[in-house]
Amino acid sequence: MEAAPDLLTKIRERGELVWGGDIQGGEPYVFEDPKDPKRGVIGFETEIAAGLAARLGVRARFFQADWSTLVPSLERGDFDVALNGLEDTPSRRDRILVSVPYFVFGETLAVRAGSTAGSLDDLSGGRIGTLNQSYGYDVLKARGFEPALYEGVFEPYSDLGLGRADGVLLDHIIADRYGCPRKDVRCLPADVARGVYVVGIPRGEASLKTTIDAALEDMIAKGELRAILERWRLWDDRQIELSKPRPSPPPSVPAPAEPAAWTMAQAELFFRGALTTLGLSIAAFALALPIGLGLALARLERSRGLRLLATAYIEAFRGTPLLLQLYVLYFGLAPIVKLGPVTAAILGLGLNYAAYEAELHRGAILAVPPGQTEAARSLGLSRLQTLRHVLLPQSFRIALPAMTNDFVALLKDSSLVSVLTVVELTKRMTIAAIDLRSWIGPGLACALLYFSMSYPLARLAQRLERTLHRGGHEHPA
């Protein structure tokens, strides 16, 4: 009986080694050539991938993936190997095979310029930023911190400079490029911890691991790796460890973290995440409603200026992605207004949904039969009285089912604010998935909590709709 061909055989048959990485904030790892983005990617890892592929006798092909989901993507088989600043950690070794190291990095702690902190311990209890799924995250957890998780390499340092974070712990390559050169940031000279980058290989592909290890060792022995790193100005004293006989096992810090189990503490964290989601959504909707109503009335005004302003607002907020608006609000406007993550989240969601509520209420007001306004006028009610006592009570009833549906949508859209480091339900799930080494339990818990919040609301909307259709409504003649 012949076993299914292993990955190494497939790579050779295909003539192509597909390697996964993320070009976002990817300089010097892997990034689009700024001179000619169409030419493909460059970076020191691109050259390492080429070196590996050459030794396998195949071509290298880059596959763009989100860095924080590199391991799950590798498991899914999106690419053959993950080669993108993947740190060697116990949790990774639980899930995938790792190669010998190709780079030694230090965890650099950056603090605000002018801060007197001299070590991580001096920042105890502070807000320390790092990347989701990074080695810095493990180090911080092991030292008792609750890290603020960012999706990009630029944002944590910008928040540090603005005072929205007290420190940033990231690999020295990132710190040297994005943090330390900033005037408002100071990097501490000593490495908080050391770690190594390894190539991620799917579990069970031992022959591929042996081949990749041999290829890397050959590149180290022939000085090819050193040449690449020197070309990218990454060679430093840390790299001497690479040529030592047995550079693995993994680095000194932190103590191997056991996969956490589903405990009451985990469940409580999920509930807290759900409460955050609910709280954010209610606050955002409470903001969206009055603004939306104001915009709706402005659009119904006789004054052209007001109408134009309201229309411009609505089109701008409906015509651009919410994620972009959140980024602009939190990071883009930071030099002018320094909003906290939660404030920015509520404001961002609220301002965005105001545009949708505006159109909803405008439609609802127009749906009130004109005879109602006519009757109010004939009785001497002022415009404001007509609006307050005749139009709005009726338009609100018309709008209520759709408003409830919008709230359910907002509840789910609120997961986007995790990019502002807010830990709501979805973010809680991704964190738990890493801690528990599984997406299934956290995914189900997350889905269940969203559903238990949105389903009753959806039913309520249906009931409201039925009540509305039953009557209580003047039918236009």
């Binding site: 004939s378 009785l379 001497g380 009610l381 006592h389 009570p393 009726q394 009833r397 209580g472 003649a477």
Partner: protein, 242 residues
Amino acid sequence: MNTLPDAKPAPVAGNGATPAIAVSGLRKNRGGAAVLADVTLSVAEGEAVALVGASGCGKTTLLRCLNGLESFDGGVVDVAGFRLEPWKVPPRKDLVRLRTTVGFVFQEHHLFAHLSALDNVALAPRLVKGLRKDEALERARRLLERVGLGERLAAHPHELSGGQKQRVAVARALAQEPSVLLLDEPTSALDPETAEGVAQTIQDLTRGAVTVVLVTHQQDLAKRMAQRILRLENGRIVARGD
């Protein structure tokens, strides 16, 4: 002032009192055509006048001009001590007083769909006349009793029959204690029997005390309710009934 050759002196009611409504040379165009060509009429205080004519002859438009629901292009309207002129929006204060002095009942009742019968009638006295809430509710209750709806105070419009709705609409207009009541086809959407009842109620509540202008295309209703019948044709008053 009116120099048009066919201008007629304002017809004044027999008792010779100051007219409650005096319209002279009223003109209104819509889309280039004259809806009201040259309307001159006068209604004495306490008098009930019916305006009849084919549909589309402009009688509803004329009625709406009498309380400023619609603007007009020429002529003058004097109503209950207020003067309305073409393209001149009266100050808000005057308009409110005009509207509380001149009540209006629509062909389609236009009751506020979200309010009970009681609140429909009490709303304007409270908001416009500034009555205390309990006073307004008490007035509304009495009026609804008088139109025969004492048992349906809490009913919402969709729970009332066509005739009941129109009675509430009459009570709502009268709650402002107007001296002039304008009725636009108040019974034409009702079956004959119901119409009869509503007409009777209106008569009972207004006779002699409130000046009434009734627009209708039903000759018998006009005869029954009005002391005088004016016929409108091609935007002019062409004949006067008895």
